[in-house]
């Protein structure tokens, strides 16, 4: 397993209510998972813990075999860079689209110019070159969502986590994303998609994980 939860509990600082309780779940590479559950069920929290952003209050998270939160900082960053999370509501940096897409590459040490070229290549591949120089504050909700997803995909993560990725997308953009997801899957990336859409879950999931009231239901 790439990411594995072991009896994970979580609550937000200052709150007494458990958002997740006693969760055991795992995600592997080369698979498509759909995390299914109603709004407020704890889906997003689960995904952020899986993405090594939130630290569980109780329990352990293993990343590629390591007990992630007991690792020293220097070791953590290397593992964390293998898994990329995309927010449900896209947040973009101020500046251009290409800068946003290149950002993750640059902080990984890639030369600024090379990173920008890579970003442009990806946009071109999707027929979205016209977006490259656009300012992010002028994008439509759908375009912003697309840019946020591309910003993650360009990093070629071993696990890609998409939180409700289709919320703002029209069908043509949605198809583009689906194509990319399948392509990533072929190349060995594990894809975790959170959704409350039953049909979608059934259509593409190789494994469905159902979250309800902060618990993962055992598969039948």
């Amino acid at each position: 397993m790439a990411i594995e939860f072991s009896n994970v509990w979580y609550r937000y600082p200052g709150s007494r209510k458990w958002v997740l309780s006693s969760v055991d779940v795992g995600f592997d590479e080369s698979r498509i998972y759909v995390v299914f559950g109603p709004n407020g069920s704890g889906k997003t929290t689960l995904l952020k813990i899986a993405s090594l952003i939130y630290r569980p209050v109780k329990g352990k998270v293993f990343a590629w075999g390591y007990d992630y939160w007991s690792l020293p900082n220097s070791k953590r960053i290397e593992l964390r860079r293998r898994i990329v999370y995309v927010h449900e509501k896209p947040v973009l940096f101020k500046g251009t689209v290409e800068y946003n897409i290149a950002y993750g590459l640059m902080i990984r040490g890639l030369d600024r110019h090379e990173a920008l070229v890579k970003a442009r290549v990806l946009l071109e591949k999707l027929g979205l070159s016209y977006l490259a120089d656009k300012k992010t504050n002028g994008l439509s909700a759908g375009e912003a969502q697309l840019v946020a997803i591309l910003r993650a995909i360009v990093l070629e993560p071993r696990i890609l986590v998409l939180d409700e990725p289709f919320a703002h997308l029209d069908s043509s953009k949605r198809d583009k994303i689906m194509e990319l997801v399948l392509e990533l899957r072929e190349n060995g990336t594990g894809v975790v998609i959170a959704s409350h859409d039953v049909f979608l879950a059934k259509a593409i999931a190789e494994r469905v994980i159902v979250v309800e009231n902060g618990k993962v239901l055992k598969p039948d």
């Binding site: 900082n73 960053i77 860079r81 990329v84 947040v91 950002y103 993750g104 902080i107």
Partner: protein, 215 residues
Amino acid sequence: MFLMETIPLIILRTLWISGTAVVLSLLWSLPLAYLLSRKHGLAKIMVPVFDALIGVPTVLIGLVLYMLFSSRGPLGFLGLLYTPYAIIIGEAILVTPLITSTTYHVLNNVISTYGELALTLGATDKQAMMVALREGLPGVLASIAMAFSRASGELGIALMVGGNIKGYTRVMTTAIALEVSRGEFESAIMLGVVLVVIVVSTSIAIRFLQRKVYG
């Protein structure tokens, strides 16, 4: 009339004193805001206090500083009374709650959104902080513009510890007050208009700088 030849100097002095006060205040207000954004327990107590202190009467700060800086006061040996530095210190204190509080709110917001976003994209803690600061900068600059406006528009401190000395500690607001007491309402209004033009153009200049930086 008698003021005319000295107006440009009064304007420059106001810019210098209030600008320095804001820069000085930034030296501690920004780290303080950063500290508060990291320590939630401390912020819970301190932020409401700072929020409330934004409106503290300037003449009160002026009076307290006067008693400190007076020859008979505990800091009298510094010889700061009736110098521009006394005004600078007072105005730096005056704008501290304003800068700290607004910057804290900005940081809190950008760290939880952009900081977390950067982490998801594989940033180290330090890189995440840098990117959060970059995104928060426009908010911080806006708070600096506000602080400059507050500092250059205050009267109580400049009057109490500056003394409104011609050619030395006379700033726009004390000049306005003096012109009013002289019955020269027209030149008081003129100075007031100049002051408003200065603070508004400072704000616009900062906006422009942001545009330049973020493209």
